[in-house]
Amino acid sequence: MSVQEETVWQGDVEKLRGLVSDRALSGETMVLNMGPQHPSTHGVLRLLLELDGEDIVNCIPDIGFLHTGIEKNMEAKRYEQSITMTDRMDYLNPLGNNLAYCLAMEKLIELDVPPRAQVIRVLLAELTRINSHLVWLGTHALDIGAMSVFLYCFREREKILDIFEMVSGQRMMSTYFRPGGLWRDVPEEFEPAVRDFIDYFPAKVDDYEKLLSNNPIWLDRTQGIGFISAEDAIALGCTGPTLRGSGVNWDIRKALPYSGYEQFDFEVPLGVHGDVYDRYIIRIEEMRQSLRIVEQAIDNLPGGLFRSNNRKYVPPPRAELGHSMEAVIHHFKLWTEGFRPPKGEVYVRVESPRGELGCFLASDGSPRPWRVRFRTPSFVHLSALPHMAKGHLIADLVGIIGSVDIVLGDCDR
C-alpha cells in the first residue's frame, strides 16, 4: 500500500453503527462533522451530528483533543508543585481551581487557614467568577450574533485581570493560593482597585442587560431552546447555573459552605424554564451577587496572618531564615522533600462558575499524591449536551453549547 492510500480516510461505517440511527446508514439522514476547529465550539470540541434536514436527530460529542494528562503528571510531583497545573485546567477559573486543590490538601492534613486568607480567597474567587461569566457572556453573545457585547465584556474583564496581576504577578495563570493561605499578602493598592471596580461594574451589568435581555432577536434565539427538566438535570449530573436554570436550588456555597462562605450574605438566582434564556439570566444575576460578596469581603477584610503558622506544612517567611535555625530546617525540608500527609482519601467540592468542581485526593503517606482526580463540570455538562440538543435546529446548537458554558481545558484536563 502506498503512503497516499494509507492517509486517505476509508470511512468506517461499522464504527458509526450504534452511535447514529439506522436512517443515517441508509442515507435518509445526513451525518455531519462539526469541529474540532469550529469557531463556536469554544475550543477543540468535535461534534458528530446526525441531521434530518436542519433538525438534530443525534449529537455525539468527541472530546480529548486537549487531554494533557494533568492527573498523571500530578502523581509525579509533590503536593505543592501541582498547584500551577490546576490553573491550566479551567483557564477561565484559575483561582477557583487553586482553591479546590488547596482545600483538598488542607482537609487531608487538617490545616487551618487564617481568617484574612479565607476572606481574600473568597474575594478573589468571586472576582474570578465574574471574570469567567464575562468571557462566557461575550462569547455566547458573539455566537448568537451580538458583536458589541463581546467588546464591552472584555473591557471590564481587563480590570479584573489587572487586580489579579497586582496580587500575583500574573493576569491569567495566577497560582496565588497555597495550602494554609496565600502566596503573599495583597499589596496596598489592592483595596482601592477593588473599590474602584465595585463602583464601576454595576452600571456595566445593566448595560449588558439593556443590550440583550429584551432584545427580540436575543429572545427568539434563546427562549425555549435547549430545555432540560429538573429531574433530567439531576440525573445527568448537571450542577451550577445549568441546574439552577431548571429551578433546583443547589449552590455548594450555600449547601456545603467552604472557606467561610457562610459569613456572606448573597442570594442564589433560580430559573423557571430550564432553557438557554434562563441560564443567561442566572449568570447575569450571579455577577451582581458575586459583586455583593466582593463588597462585603473588602469592607470586612480582617487583619493578621495571610498564611498559616504551621511550619510543618507552610514555609517560614524569608526574613526568618537569617536568624532562626529551625526556620532553615523547615525551609530545607519543605523544599527538598515536601510535606508528608497522613494516609487517606478526601473529596472536596467547590462551586466553580460552571458548577461543581470536585477534587479527590488519595494519599499513601508519601510527599507525592497517589492519585489526584478532578471532577470537572464541563466534562459532565458536555455529556448532557446531546439530551439538550436533540430535536433542535443546527443553528440553535451553537446557543446551547454556549449556554452550558463549557471550557475544553476543564473537560479534557
Binding site: 480529548g64 498523571k72 487538617e110 440525573a235 482519601e345 473529596y347 470536585g358 497517589w370 471532577r375 459532565v380
Partner: protein
C-alpha cells in the same frame, strides 16, 4: 422528611455485601462487593430517606503493586438531605470487571468511559464503552502505575550523539 442512617440501612438490606465502613476527615467510605454495586446504587437512589440522587463523581484508583489492585470510588450526594457518601469497590488486577451504574445514574456514562480509557477497568452493561480522552487506537491505559510518564533526556554537548541515537524522530 424521614432521614435514614445510610450505613445501618445498607447493612440491613445487603448484609455481607457491605465489606467495610470507615470515616476519614468526615468522609464516610463504604466498601461494597463489586458484583452488587449496581443493586446497592439503585437502593441508595430509590430508598426513601436516603435518596442519593446526584452522582457527583466516579473515579478509579490503581493501588499497584497491591492486590486487589484497582478500586472504583463513587461519590454520591443527596440533594434532599444535603449529605454525601462514598461507595468503593475493589477489583483484582488481572481481570478488573464491575457492573456499570449507568442504568441507575445516567451521568455515570462518561465517568465510566474515562475509567475504562485511562485505567482499563471494564464495566458490564455499559451502553457505549469506548475510549473517550485517548485516541481510539491507543495502546495501554495511561493512569496505570506501571505505565511510564515519559520524558525527554536532556541533551548536553558531552552526550549529544548518544542521546540523539535514541531520539524517536525520523532520521535519513
Amino acid at each position: 422528611m424521614t432521614k435514614l442512617d445510610p450505613i445501618e440501612a445498607l447493612q440491613a438490606a445487603f448484609g455481607d455485601a457491605i465489606e467495610d465502613v470507615s470515616t476519614f476527615r468526615g468522609d464516610t467510605t463504604v466498601v461494597v462487593s463489586a458484583a452488587k454495586i449496581a443493586d446497592i446504587g439503585r437502593y441508595c437512589l430509590q430508598t426513601e430517606g436516603l435518596e442519593y440522587n446526584l452522582l457527583s463523581d466516579v473515579t478509579g484508583i490503581d493501588y499497584y503493586p497491591q492486590e486487589p489492585r484497582f478500586a472504583v470510588a463513587y461519590h454520591l450526594y443527596s440533594l434532599p438531605h444535603n449529605r454525601s457518601l462514598r461507595l468503593k469497590v475493589y477489583l483484582p488486577g488481572d481481570d478488573p470487571v464491575v457492573p456499570s451504574v449507568t442504568p441507575v445514574w445516567p451521568t455515570a456514562n462518561w465517568f465510566e468511559r474515562e475509567i475504562y480509557d485511562l485505567l482499563g477497568v471494564t464495566f458490564t452493561d455499559h451502553p457505549d464503552l469506548r475510549r473517550i480522552l485517548m485516541p481510539e487506537g491507543w495502546d495501554g491505559h495511561p493512569l496505570r502505575k506501571d505505565y511510564p510518564l515519559g520524558y525527554e533526556t536532556v541533551q548536553f554537548s558531552f552526550n549529544f550523539d548518544e542521546v540523539d541515537r535514541h531520539k524517536p524522530y525520523a532520521k535519513e
